[in-house]
Homo-oligomer: 414 residues x 2
């Protein structure tokens, strides 16, 4: 895990607090789900790579009634279980947020952690969910990044999986669907030559190669992209629906004031995940190489593995806070906070002044809400002041005179 | 785990927030430690019962370099490791708080959870730590309970382990020390007859039985208790030091305004734990049967297992929030919050009004910081208002007229 010193933790906590506040202001209800779930629940949706990363949990003194358990690796699977279990206590559309650690048995490396904070928003509908909520999720996440006050703005790259699925169908490429998704997903990391090579190796039809590559290259402003896509002459219904949805989602975001923060991009597919409509990824354009700092999309049926009676379509997104914090620190994306953890250090000169010092501290907490410590140390005053200067902005020294007169004096540290 | 509905979660989060705020205002720095630690670290201090409750963690795809790992069962062991590892980045006395879930492989039952929130404050010194910090910890925890605004006040029962250790030494009862601690710890749950029976069974000397029982019965106001203890005629140095410390800690708490919230009590020993001085437990006197809702004490050497070069004396306490929340809900100790999660639900009459509705919501968030949702549903207005009434205090319906005139009207739900 990323273990921080108390000062770095202050910055981390502030970002986490801004996420929680922005999500709440946008109407997302906070829930908490267990870290430990039965393995069969967690593994219902997990595929190869995920399964390898799952931590199993075993009691030291095994008892017979203990089911096979593991640590959750994301918030989506526990959310699906939660929605089905508490269905009758919820109002749909259910706008929900989870901000907590997930667990992945990765080999630890820079910016990748085994315990990582993920901050999810989701809107879950019962049987249906208007397209508007795709906009609600993306705008909430954009506002959240806005609240961070990073030195560099974020850009949401948006796509719709129906466009690529419809195209694949239209071009008769069904048997290469997985390959196409994988190739698109990697297209920014490798050269066009390498992409072609991979497609050829897999026996992808040469006559449709250039068409696919041209399609992948489409990105930019909504109006331009929509025009280019319509110009491809694809008559497939799913494709056209995808273009219409992308157009609508982006138009609404523009209307809501995010014109400069969004772009359409056919390279965004979100891997082999379960998304079925809108997909998006946020990047910091000035730090493109660090990759995505947020992502999500629309899924047809959240709880397919847990409920047969109801369908729960949803749309959601997640900020990987641990990784984002690593990037923010490494690239110095926040103004350096010279702040200290405490406002006041109250220092009684001798034991006799401790009760009065405690009362002064109480007054400062009650009247200013100020973080305040009373400092008692078996050390000379100079050393006590050195300690106070490290942790607090201001010092208040309490001697006999202050006690008698019922006053105190605030000294600023420089 | 205790999994809550979104409305109950609001109450839980509010209590957690009050804890975090009060701890911070009293100068405790927040840190986070990993949930997963190497087993040898976690087990260094654990004895029988604890060890049985530890969850081991195993990667599904085991790799050779994977050390034996487990989930932490409290915050104290990770804190000890943290202090030794980050010693040079910290200022001592180090006032620190951890508010997070711990993991215990208990058989789940009412009020006992496998994943439980514990909210710790600790002050760790390097080589020495003034007695004042015992007062700092207890008063911070008392203030925290104050901030909950429960219908019933809390009472801190305070003792000092040196008193009982010194007495045991003075009476030549060293070989029965563990038994005496265990008997005292259980003395409130069983009759005096049963206590005597247990002592007799173990061969405890009959001539010192009544003395011990009389001692256990001492509790009440500081001045009375100190007088009774001094009246026992025990000349042991540790005993006298314990009485002096208890007197001083309680006197300072009285001076700081907690006279009505504290009592001295020889029955408080905190089991067989590693405490060496002040020990305390909070109860809700009106709900005595639910037992302790907070506890802690002073320990001589926090990091004895991790550092040989330095001694880290400490004092700390912990609120078991999951259990406390269970009690608060079961006994209805909070005024019923009729509150809803959202302040405003903004309802556009048709799709055409969605952009304006989003702008209204943005204005309410920016100007009032109000939690606000835009409601879009393929349902009649009546149903949308019903949904809005469930989640929000007020509704704002946006039609053509509002868009044209740039106005809106707020309706209160009753």
């Amino acid at each position: 895990m990323m273990e921080l010193t108390p000062m770095a933790q202050v910055t981390f906590d502030r970002l986490k607090e801004k996420i929680a506040t922005t999500y709440a202001q946008h109407g997302y209800l906070h829930i908490e789900t267990p870290s430990i779930e039965r393995s069969e629940i967690l593994l219902a949706k997990a595929g190869g790579e995920t399964e390898k990363q799952i931590y199993k949990v075993v009691k030291t003194a095994e008892t017979a009634d203990e089911a096979d358990q593991a640590l959750r690796f994301d918030h989506t699977v526990p959310l699906a279980r939660y929605v089905v279990e508490h269905e009758n206590a919820l109002s749909f559309p259910f706008k929900v947020t989870q901000i907590a650690r997930n667990f992945r048995g990765e080999r630890p490396q820079k910016g990748r952690y085994r315990e990582l904070y993920q901050c999810d928003v989701d809107v879950v509908g019962r049987s249906s969910l208007p397209l508007y909520y795709d906009v609600d999720v993306i705008s909430t996440l954009l506002e959240t990044f806005e609240s961070f006050e990073l030195k560099t703005p974020v850009l949401a790259r948006i796509n719709n999986r129906k466009i690529i699925s419809g195209l694949i169908d239209f071009l008769g490429l069904k048997e290469w669907e997985d390959l196409v998704f994988r190739v698109i997903d990697r297209s920014e990391k490798v050269s066009a030559e390498e992409t072609k090579f991979v497609l050829r190796e897999a026996g992808f039809p040469e006559d449709r190669m250039m068409g696919l590559l041209e399609f992948i290259g489409i990105h930019g402003r909504r109006t331009k992209v929509v025009e280019q896509l319509r110009g491809l002459g694809v008559t497939n219904e799913e494709f056209l629906m995808g273009v219409k949805e992308l157009d609508e989602v982006m138009w609404l975001l523009e209307e809501a004031g995010y014109r400069k923060r969004i772009t359409a991009d056919m390279r965004i597919v979100r891997g082999l995940d379960y998304y079925t409509g809108t997909v998006f990824e946020f990047i910091l354009p000035a730090y493109r190489r660090v990759g995505s700092v947020c992502g999500g999309g629309r899924y047809e049926n959240l709880a397919g593995n847990f409920s047969e009676s109801n369908k729960f379509p949803g749309v959601g997104g997640s900020i990987g806070l641990s990784r984002l914090f690593y990037i923010i620190e490494a690239e110095k994306l926040l103004p350096v906070a010279a702040e200290k953890a405490l406002k006041y250090a109250v220092i009684p000169l001798s034991e006799a002044e401790v009760p009065y010092a405690m009362r002064v501290a109480d007054t400062l907490r009650a009247e200013e809400g100020a973080a305040t410590s009373v400092i008692v140390m078996d050390k000379r005053l100079g050393e006590r002041l050195n300690y106070a200067a490290k942790i607090a902005e201001k010092a208040i020294v309490i001697g006999e005179n202050e006690v008698t007169t019922g006053t105190w004096e605030v000294r600023e540290f420089n």
